[in-house]
């Protein structure tokens, strides 16, 4: 698209991020959520404050400007997400042979927006509309790592131990979420149920805002190598699908 200005897109993403939040965010949270360098995020926030699209409170945290809030925030429609993700979720399931799911953060939970069955497995039921644990699944961790609302929802309540490998310690989880942001994808091995592993990556919109997570889930033996680590080829497949869906939302397009 001619004349598209990256800093405007980023500023719009910041406004949308702040508009989706009920509490003010620190600079680091904004930068982390959008994958921006801190100085870049700072420059954008300062400008946004000048135009009164964003307010900075006494603690130096940012929230969306009061006037802008009246415009309301438009959340991504769950069915819109499914229709944009369907082709690439199919392709991911076909590439990996594992069940593929797309999840988004809605009303305090990670909700499955789309589910594709595992290749060749017996009877399976569609899990669309069901919630998965934010702290104990790869899909949930992606949303928690990149969406401050999800992070608050996950970290403000006790971390329920679902298996002996569930991360139930807050600071351990927070460290792990930082690793997820660095790696660009999340894994969970037997953290929600015994014998089950998952790999997931973020789906970003045009401005870089993480609107959903896409991932695969299946038996530990299929997803992990002999040392119990998720296979890198599968992680690449998940990232490939995440990039393809992000492209449907205009991310990474010039």
């Amino acid at each position: 698209m001619p004349g598209s200005v990256q800093s405007v897109e980023r500023a719009a993403a910041i406004v949308r991020l702040l508009a989706a939040e009920s509490e003010p965010l620190a600079l680091a949270q904004v930068a982390g959520a959008l994958g921006l360098a801190k100085p870049t995020a700072h420059g954008l926030l300062r400008t946004l404050c000048e135009v009164e699209f964003v307010d900075r409170d006494e603690n130096g945290r940012y929230r969306v400007g009061r006037d802008l809030l009246q415009l309301g925030s438009t959340q991504l429609d769950v069915n819109e997400l499914r229709s944009r993700a369907i082709n690439w979720t199919d392709a991911l399931a076909a590439r990996t042979g594992e069940a593929a799911r797309v999840a988004m953060f809605r009303d305090g939970e990670a909700v499955v927006a789309h589910h594709v069955f595992r290749v060749g497995a017996g009877h399976q039921t569609l899990e669309t509309g069901k919630a998965v644990p934010l702290h104990a699944t790869a899909l949930g961790k992606v949303l928690t790592a990149f969406d401050p609302g999800a992070a608050r929802a996950a970290l403000d309540r006790p971390l329920e131990g679902l298996t002996y490998r569930t991360v139930t310690d807050r600071s351990t989880l927070v460290r792990e979420l930082a690793d997820v942001r660095d790696a660009g994808y999340a894994t969970a091995v037997e953290e929600s149920a015994p014998g089950v592993a998952g790999i997931a990556a973020p789906v970003r919109d045009r401005g870089g805002y993480v609107v959903a997570a896409i991932g695969i889930g299946g038996p530990v033996d299929s997803l992990c190598d002999a040392r119990g680590r998720p296979r890198s080829r599968l992680a690449e497949d998940v990232l490939w699908a995440a990039r393809a869906i992000s492209r449907e939302f205009g991310h990474g397009r010039s």
Binding site: N79, E80, S83, A94, R95, V116, F117, G120, L126
Partner: protein, 508 residues
């Protein structure tokens, strides 16, 4: 070793797409763009064939670049298309002489009454497998020729060419004015009302009574054959399959054997059943059509239940009513209520196709009360697609020995869970979606890849079919029956509304 791919060009009613598939039939890249729909008058639907060709010219290189693939990595191209849509163009300039008349267009409703005076409808049906309806290409072509007296002379001299979208694209892909190949395939030709189903060639009697000069017709070729090599926009790719979109998705679902069926939900919805090399005849309002033909082999036929409006109704809710911002949101809106609130929408925008074939029927909304909200309307919109397909499925079950035990579905609307559940409820069989909703394109790629030797045989393709999702009937049989009865009444009302009015004691 360098990866090799098969490409599919899917020229649909609302958009065109170019897709690349790998050896496992998995989507590798997709480029897509919509074109304009023109509604110049009530009942008229037109496309700009030049706009579509310009879009296709951009999509092919875009799909290659999305995959990081060089042209020589593409071993074959399959072309698939919206069927029946009629283009007439000048052989020397390459420019259409009139807007393309889209399959949904009903302008030929009056023309049909007088079209075939020398052949009765039963003979036409016997020969072509088609009832007299506005849907098919022949009458549209006749309308274009009648619209301007100079056109018929030019057509008879061979200066004008006729084609459906497959013909238009292949002609342009192979050089256009500079020696483009003027061909169609048996599946597309079987939608014109001009081809004899048994001989697979243009029927002189039908041409004569439809008033179509033979000089303007493309050569009919098998669907799967080494046709030509592209010259534009990316030279050097072998075109090895041309097949109508619904037949392509039957192939993409790997419904190769007699008795295998599929239902595609796109702009319209289409249930096709493979009947093998036998020309099966419907006694319940279905169409007989060619499913595909491999060069040197007998043609394979299908029974088809065509429904003109499915996704088109959702699109109408967005574009014309502003009820939703995107088609997917119809499900969100429909989920705000538990049922249709007694409301039924009969989307007879193009009259009614199978199984009733009522060209003059017009759309209605029945059961309106103050209780009905836009949520109920959204639900009625989705249920309309499910109810129409259930009618067609019942007609098909009456025509064949073995009723459908499950329904394989595909198309963009299979992303709509509410619709898929409604289809399972009203057709009353499990609904199964394969791991590739874009089955039209996949089928074109499969057909092209088989000819090119990219895949050794059909068994390999069968093994690539995987179940991605499944919906089971949940509706109480008594409730189901009640809905079907109300729907039937609503459809009767839509037909009555389109019929000439009878005298009223309340007027005059």
């Amino acid at each position: 070793m360098t990866e090799r791919y098969v490409a599919a060009l899917d020229q649909g009613t609302t958009s065109s797409r170019c897709l690349l598939f790998d050896g496992q039939g998995r989507l590798v890249s997709l480029a897509q763009r919509q074109h304009h729909q023109h509604f110049p008058r009530s009942g008229w639907v037109e496309h700009d064939a030049l706009e579509i060709w310009e879009i296709v010219r951009r999509l092919v290189p875009e799909a290659l670049s999305n995959a990081g693939a060089a042209p020589e990595q593409v071993v074959a191209l399959g072309v698939t298309n919206q069927r029946e849509t009629t283009v007439v163009w000048d052989r020397d300039t390459g420019r259409p002489v009139a807007p393309a008349i889209v399959w949904q267009d009903t302008r030929t409703a009056e023309l049909l009454q007088s079209l075939c005076e020398n052949l009765d409808a039963a003979t036409v049906y016997e020969r072509t497998g088609l009832p007299a309806a506005t849907y098919f290409s022949g009458p549209k072509l006749r309308w274009i020729l009648d619209s301007d007296p100079s056109l018929r002379d030019r057509a008879e001299r061979g200066d004008l060419l006729f084609g459906t979208m497959d013909t238009w694209l292949v002609w342009n892909l192979t050089g256009g004015v500079d020696g483009g190949l003027h061909v169609t395939d048996v599946t597309n030709a079987s939608r014109t009302m001009l081809m004899d189903l048994r001989t697979l060639s243009w029927d002189p009697e039908l041409l004569a009574c439809m008033g179509v000069p033979a000089a303007m017709l493309p050569e009919i070729r098998p669907s799967m054959a080494e046709l030509a090599t592209t010259r534009d926009p990316v030279p050097g790719i072998p075109i090895t399959a041309v097949i109508g979109d619904q037949q392509a998705s039957l192939f993409g679902q790997t419904a190769f054997e007699p008795g295998e069926a599929k239902c595609t939900f796109g702009t319209g919805s289409f249930l096709l059943l493979n009947t093998g090399t036998e020309i099966a005849r419907s006694r319940h309002g279905l169409v007989t059509t060619v499913a595909h033909q491999v060069a040197g082999e007998p043609a394979v036929y299908a029974l088809e239940g065509s429904v003109a409006v499915a996704g088109a109704l959702v699109e109408w809710c967005r574009e014309s009513l502003d009820l939703i911002r995107s088609p997917a949101e119809i499900e969100t809106l429909a989920m705000t209520v538990d049922d249709n609130g007694g409301c039924y929408v009969v989307p007879a925008f193009s009259g009614l196709y199978a199984p009733r074939w009522e060209s003059r029927a017009q759309g209605i909304v029945a059961g309106l009360t103050g209780y009905v909200t836009k949520g109920h309307l959204a639900r009625a919109v989705l249920e309309a697609s499910a109810l129409q397909i259930s009618e067609v499925a019942r007609a098909m079950n009456r025509d064949v020995d073995v009723p459908l035990s499950s329904l394989a579905v595909d198309g963009g609307m299979t992303a709509n869970n509410l619709l898929m559940q409604a289809v399972a409820d009203y057709v009353d069989v499990p609904v199964v979606r394969p791991m590739m909703a874009e089955t039209v394109a996949l089928g074109a790629a499969y057909a092209a890849g088989l000819v090119a030797g990219y895949w050794p045989d059909r068994q390999v393709l069968k093994r690539q079919w995987h179940k991605a999702g499944e919906w089971h009937p949940e509706l109480d049989p008594a409730v189901r029956r009640q809905h079907l009865e109300r729907w039937d009444r609503a459809v009767e009302l839509a037909i009555a509304w389109g019929a000439p009015a009878s005298p009223s004691p309340y007027l005059d």
